[in-house]
Symmetry: C2
Subunit: 405 residues, 2 copies
């Protein structure tokens, strides 16, 4: 791929969506589309115009004339690779411009939907800086990290049915809140609405019940990566979470990017993990298992944090192996997220809980002191990573807060 010629699509070079990226999305009219520069190419047009091309496993129309990516995800790594190669060939082969140029759709004309039907959604807690910050904020008199944290990627299941696509407004949730100084809980709108800047990993190939998936099989099952905002109501969460974990403090909405970046586009972003010490055999990984992905948290147009995914303690391959070590099966459309990405510096924290240190140390945005989200706030999460042609820009995650009902 490194010797790829330039694409004939104008504006792609330097856009973050050059021919080394090619994230996939879904539009109701066009089916599965690949982004190139400021346009999207419907995969059905590639099938129609080029047929099998050089691909050993030709892309089948039934995989891309779909309302979701699921059929394509289920087809597996050979189809993913052949399709990517066919797309790259078509986009750098100038003879294709005459045939495919007319099929390009400007991105502003797309109506991108949730790109895949979510099967199970799991959320991890894989940043040592985030977990340590939360420990210090919520349990100031104890060790910040619980004893299990360095031995396994702590995680839990979230609500798959409320995963929404970037751009969906988020209604401020109501529920039970009981601040420490009050004797009984009250019902009302959350006063501590927060974001969590995360990455999500999208499973394509299922696994059999009873058979763990090793870390080495990560790329055999996981197709790609989405940006993810795990919206959180901290007061609801604080009251409900013992002893069975977060529930309504999270389940009202989880936003994901409309574009799914293939793992294949992130090869240059691979980086070593932090030193983990000794881990149990099933969690060992071939390095480099980390990803050097830069994240920005933007509040009403102003960047308020730059969390580095490279600082994450546990890698996505380890999360996958842990999630299945008990024999739990994978399904096409399973989504698992990293947990909040936070780095060691104050301006690298991926949640307002941390940025405002539990609401006690407001941060400044828009010239004002801020703690948690206000109605009308718009949050955008942005992600980028090094690639063959400079950098790729992963799909953004955008959401505006609507007042409580």
């Amino acid at each position: 791929v490194s010797e790829l010629r330039p694409t004939w699509v104008a504006g792609a070079a330097g856009s973050g969506f050059d021919a080394d990226h090619l994230p996939l999305g879904v539009d109701p009219r066009h089916g599965v589309v690949a982004r190139i520069g400021h346009h999207a190419l419907p995969l059905r047009s590639v099938v129609e115009v080029r047929g099998a091309g050089r691909a050993s496993r030709p892309l089948q129309p039934h995989l891309v004339d779909q309302p979701t990516l699921n059929a394509f995800l289920a087809a597996g790594p050979e189809v993913w690779a052949d399709t990517r190669r066919a797309l790259q060939d078509a986009l750098v082969d100038e003879s294709s411009e005459a045939e495919l140029g007319a099929a390009l759709v400007p991105v502003e004309d797309l109506d991108l939907v949730l790109p895949f039907e979510v099967a199970d959604y799991v959320d991890f807690y894989a940043s040592i800086d985030h977990a340590s910050n939360v420990g210090r904020i919520l349990r100031p008199d104890s060790e910040p990290l619980l004893p299990n944290w360095r031995h396994l990627p702590v995680g839990y299941h979230g609500r798959a049915g409320t995963v929404v696509v970037s751009g969906t407004d988020v209604r401020r949730p109501s529920g039970q809140r009981k601040p420490p100084h009050e004797a009984t809980p009250t019902y009302g709108a959350t006063r501590r609405l927060d974001v969590e800047a995360e990455l999500g990993f999208v499973v394509g190939v299922p696994s059999a019940l009873g058979t763990p998936v090793p870390t080495s099989a990560f790329a055999d099952h996981v197709f790609g990566v989405v940006g993810l905002n795990d919206w959180s109501a901290r007061d609801i969460q604080a009251w409900e979470y013992a002893p069975l974990g977060p529930f309504l403090g999270k389940s009202f909405a989880t936003s994901v990017s409309a574009w799914v970046t293939p793992l294949a586009a992130l090869e240059r972003a691979r980086c070593p993990l932090p030193w983990q010490g000794e881990v149990l055999d099933y969690l060992t990984v071939a390095e480099p298992a980390g990803f050097d992905i830069a994240v920005e948290v933007e509040l009403d147009g102003e960047v308020v944090a730059r969390p580095p995914f490279a600082s994450m303690w546990w890698s996505p391959a380890q999360m996958l192996a842990h999630m299945t070590v008990n024999g739990a099966s994978l399904r096409t459309g399973d989504l698992y997220a990293s947990g909040t990405i936070s780095g060691p510096e104050r301006d690298q924290r991926g949640s307002f809980l941390e940025l405002s240190w539990g609401g006690r140390e407001p941060f400044t945005a828009g010239g004002r002191e801020r703690t948690f989200l206000e109605d009308g706030d718009e949050v955008v999460l942005r992600y980028s990573a090094p690639s063959e042609r400079g950098r790729v820009t992963l799909g953004e995650v955008r959401g505006r807060v609507l007042p409580a009902q």
Copy 2:
């Protein structure tokens, strides 16, 4: 319904599957079937023979010629009621025997599958005796119930993809375990494999994101009830669960009955809840909101516990209202479970953790002292409830333990 004449199906009276019950299941050859006595009646045969019948909303073939109940579940309470009425009419109308008798399938000839595609799976913790027992066993020096327990139905999301139908063998899971007296965790098969005898509630009608579902709308959304065994690996769970809740200790398998009992068959089983004191407005219910369902936990053919569902603190209508109070939407196929059903007496405990008091006080079964599950053990959960014609027998939940891989 109380004036129902006897059904023409021989053996139905007194079987627990008389015409006042009519649970639904799915067989790959026959589609959706209703159980009557020791037979099943494919709903497609009722459509073919009787057409619309008296029903104002005739049963449509596309609702029952399906590999799951989901289309029928989504059709809503009027279709559920009309279908039930049409089935009851057909089964008590002797003129139907000539037409429908040949369509009956002996239950032993069925190959029942998971009756619905599970959307999200939520597990509650709604028995005060169970929650108190667990508190006493795991935290003997603290208050058994945490402060939030009487204010809200504590719950969490489980893994929908590993819900299996009764009769599926369960492989003993492996994972990380760290007994308190050891310094570091080890990998291996669980030593504390357990059952949790529960009831599950099956959502048919979806709800809109952002709009809570009140307790009064329970029967507008929930079609019926399944038996449910929430298999649990206590050592894996104990090490992993802080602070985000159970994960791999539960996600390897959850068994549900092949038959879904309609709420309509449980009207005579309605009973008042225990006195809850004051609850927040959104959790108030019209009584009787409880269900008087008797449960038996059978180990290798011997009943080892008889948990009473009537002793549950929180009702399923309250669980539904709580689950959506933050605006979380419902989908067809959502499954939520009660949590372990335990009564106040020792022989009413719905888990081996409680029956053996954390493994420290073995109980006797098969003439031997027992604590947790052994390889080869077969557990059957059985459920029955009062009905118009005596008692209904809900679908059993059967599973055998296979050795670790």
